[in-house]
């Protein structure tokens, strides 16, 4: 059992949970995730570890409610327990050694990007963040990223920062020159757009893939993605890959596998959903 020791709402459908998991907190590196299994009968869902405090023995998870499993998790309060938390899983982020990195976050992608930005900054890399959301209320962790470096905020409806897509903002920054690496995490279309911005500029671009998983240890193959024309498993070979090599169309398509289950379940008056986010 893994006690939830803290819980707060970051945005209308986004909750931050602080969970006691000392072993994971001690081992975890940026980019890694856990599989969370709320109770017997629940789904196993992958969630990136947003933060870890080894001395307190806690990890922080940011959960966006997109279906039944994530909604159940968002309904947890401090004092509740999570039945199972396994990890840290996946490979740690391949961090730039020195220079200038741009970290791009769409929606709950901020929770994945924030620890990467912090780790980069800690080793002396200059970090610029681009944080986007549909509207101001959905912007996440802007303060945290502002404490690390420059931040460009983008919203679709111009309610905060500049209007438009994070990929456009990324393009402006990259065209100014001096960008050594890009880390882009968010919805599939956003990561693809960012990769297309950096491809002609030949800027190494890391994306974090949120494919469907069960075990998180390489056993089921459900999370398979195509990278550079070869099949890779997001859970053990990733979740982070070279954005210029990823077949985003395949990823987006495979993510729709269980959409009918959600609709059918909604018709029955109860939501059923597979998680749509290793990284969300």
């Amino acid at each position: 059992m893994y006690p939830v020791v803290g819980c707060d709402r970051l945005a209308p459908l986004v909750v931050r949970l602080v969970v006691e998991a000392p072993r994971i907190a001690a081992k975890r590196q940026p980019g890694q995730f856990v599989i969370v299994h709320l109770h017997e009968g629940a789904e196993r869902i992958p969630l990136t570890i947003a933060e870890a405090d080894p001395s307190a023995g806690t990890i922080t998870l940011v959960v966006q409610s997109v279906g039944k499993s994530t909604a159940d998790l968002c309904a947890v309060s401090a004092g509740d327990v999570i039945r199972d938390v396994a990890g840290p899983l996946g490979r740690p982020t391949d961090l730039l050694e020195r220079g200038h990195a741009v970290c791009v976050a769409g929606g709950v992608g901020s929770a994945v990007v924030a620890p990467i930005a912090a780790a980069l900054s800690a080793r002396g890399v200059r970090v610029t963040s681009v944080v986007g959301a549909r509207t101001q209320a959905q912007l996440l962790l802007v303060d945290q990223l502002t404490s690390i470096g420059d931040v460009v905020v983008c919203t679709d409806d111009a309610s905060a920062g500049r209007a438009g897509l994070v990929s456009d903002a990324l393009g402006d920054i990259c065209r100014d020159g001096g960008v050594d690496a890009v880390y882009a995490v968010g919805p599939v279309a956003m990561m693809q757009a960012c990769a297309e911005v950096t491809r002609p500029l030949r800027i190494p671009t890391t994306v974090s893939l949120n494919s469907i998983m069960v075990d998180g240890t390489g056993m089921c193959g459900g999370c398979r993605v195509s990278v550079g024309g070869r099949t890779a498993y997001a859970c053990v070979d990733g979740p982070e890959f070279d954005g210029h090599q990823v077949d985003f169309a395949l990823l987006a398509d495979r993510l729709t596998t269980y959409h009918d289950f959600e609709r059918t379940a909604a018709d029955r008056g109860r939501g059923v959903c597979t998680d749509l986010g290793a990284t969300s």
């Binding site: 072993r23 994971i24 081992k27 299994h37 009968g41 629940a42 789904e43 196993r44 039944k68 499993s69 159940d72 039945r83 199972d84 938390v85 396994a86 990890g87 840290p88 899983l89 069960v214 075990d215 998180g216 240890t217 390489g218 056993m219 089921c220 193959g221 459900g222 398979r224 195509s226 099949t231 053990v236 395949l250 398509d253 495979r254 729709t256 596998t257 269980y258 289950f261 059923v272 597979t274």
Partner: protein
């Protein structure tokens, strides 16, 4: 419900039941009389009814049938059956006690040789092991050793107080880590705990059992059977730590530092795909994923949160036990057509004979001599069929089975909406990558000697991470042998450290 005789109720053996042959002492039965007893039939649930549920197919022998069946044993001077058993259960002895209606004695004997008899009595391929070696097979069929093992083991589980009470073991003061709670790990845990060692099992999933939980479906091995075997080990003092992924949560060196010995029994793990076009279409599963969703995550239950695609027409590629488990699962999930696509013929099917029979009774179709070359899909990315080539059998290959040769121009399409790929597994590198000094073979499996010793002192390995895809009982044999070697290693440590 049952289609064959079962006198005293399904799967509830009862030592107090009326005993028809009790008036005749087992010892006074002549061989001629034994030879005249027909092999008792395992009662099964009706094929139509059961192909819609996940309830166990085999109902279990009744008490009288079990004792009578045990009386068929000729008590051969040379116990061929024991020689043929990978864990060398003293079959002759437990059958003799069962024939004497000494259930507690039979159970104690069985449990002293086999840590998981409720499991092996259900899933072992007896026809190529103990029963295959039984001389009675030549006339009237071999003694139904598997069914009797199950009977005695189930009785033991319900009468733990009469079976488990034994002398308290003295703690050895030694600690052993076991990585993986599948059949190999559980067997080793039982053997080591009985010798007084403190055992901790590290399991990556949230429930102990490994392949017994995620792989073998409940209609063959009910979940509570595995759970009670684990519970019995816990009563012996074994501690199971779930959600512990060795290679990530811990690495091997940490375990070596904290424990006196380590047994690695993590299974093979990585699914093999066919490497044909269309394999990433929606509706293509590895058998691991398909079965895990259904068995471990309970996707067959309406109230479970984990979804699984319930195809109308499901094609399962492969011919092993896992393939047959998957196709029978597909039937139970509502597939009108559930087909096994296999490159060879029925003779070469590696699956357990009883399961193949049961599958056919349940309406599963076998498409023999067919090799998939492409998964077909529609514009929306969903599976619509499996394109195959006909094969013919050529000369035997390295495995001794005749090699399937595709016939040019023999293409045909099998319409289906779900494809399950069940053609074996590869070594999962998660643990071994974290232990660069551990010697592997050229396929990434852990290299061991006959007793399961790896290249690292105090580290032993067994089961599928050594053998590739094998069976529950072979993994258990490895667990038993490795436990003996670990015990010897620990005794040596004691000797050298005074």
């Amino acid at each position: 419900m049952t289609s064959a005789p079962g006198s005293d109720g399904p799967s509830s053996p009862d030592s107090n039941g009326s005993v028809s042959n009790k008036s005749v002492s087992n010892k006074s039965v002549s061989n001629k009389e034994r030879m005249a007893i027909p092999r008792q039939t395992m009662p099964t649930r009706d094929a139509d009814a059961r192909s819609h549920t996940f309830d166990e197919v085999n109902v279990g022998l009744g008490h009288d049938e079990a004792v009578l069946e045990a009386t068929r044993c000729l008590q051969c001077t040379r116990a061929w059956c024991v020689d043929a058993c990978p864990v060398h259960v003293d079959i002759r002895l437990f059958l003799d006690r069962l024939a004497d209606d000494d259930l507690a004695g039979a159970a104690r004997s069985l449990l002293s040789d086999n840590a998981l008899p409720c499991v092996t009595g259900r899933v072992c391929p007896q026809e190529i092991q103990c029963e295959g070696a039984c001389p009675r097979g030549k006339r009237g069929g071999p003694v139904a050793i598997g069914h009797l093992e199950r009977y005695v083991a189930d009785w033991a589980a319900q009468h733990a107080d009469q079976v488990e009470a034994g002398p308290r073991v003295t703690p050895s003061g030694r600690r052993v880590a076991i990585v993986g709670s599948g059949p190999g790990g559980l067997t080793a845990a039982g053997e080591l705990a009985r010798r007084g060692h403190a055992v901790t099992i590290f399991e990556a999933f949230h429930t102990a059992g490994g392949v017994l939980g995620y792989g073998i479906p409940p209609f063959r091995l009910p979940r509570d059977v595995t759970a009670r075997e684990v519970a019995r080990l816990e009563r012996l003092g074994v501690f199971v730590e779930t959600n512990a992924v060795v290679g990530r949560t811990y690495d091997l060196d940490e375990l070596r530092g904290e424990f006196d010995a380590v047994f690695v029994a993590v299974g093979a793990g990585l699914p093999v795909f066919l490497d044909i076009p269309g394999e990433n279409l929606k509706g293509v599963y590895s058998a691991n994923e398909y079965l895990t969703r259904v068995n471990l995550m309970g996707a067959f239950r309406p109230e479970a949160d984990t979804p699984v695609l319930r195809g109308h027409r499901v094609a399962v590629v492969g011919g092993g036990n896992v393939a047959v488990d998957a196709v029978r699962t597909a039937r139970r999930l509502g597939a009108d057509e559930a087909v096994v696509v296999y490159r060879r013929t029925r003779q070469e099917l590696p699956a357990r004979a009883e399961e193949v029979d049961h599958a056919q009774e349940e309406g599963v179709r076998f498409e023999f001599l067919a090799a998939p070359v492409e998964v077909l899909g529609d514009d929306a990315g969903w599976v619509t069929g499996l394109r195959c080539l006909r094969t013919e059998l050529g000369e035997p290959d390295d495995s001794g089975r005749r090699r399937p040769l595709p016939l040019a121009g023999s293409e045909f399409d099998l319409p289906c909406d779900v494809v399950v790929v069940s053609v074996g597994t590869r070594a999962n590198p998660l643990l071994t990558q974290s232990a660069p000094d551990l010697d592997l073979d050229d396929r990434g499996f852990i290299a061991v000697d006959d007793d399961g010793r790896t290249s690292l002192s105090g580290v032993f390995a067994g089961g599928d991470i050594v053998r590739g895809s094998a069976t529950v009982i072979l993994a258990m044999g490895d667990g038993k042998r490795a436990a003996a070697a670990i015990h010897a290693f620990l005794c040596e440590l004691d000797a050298t450290r005074g």
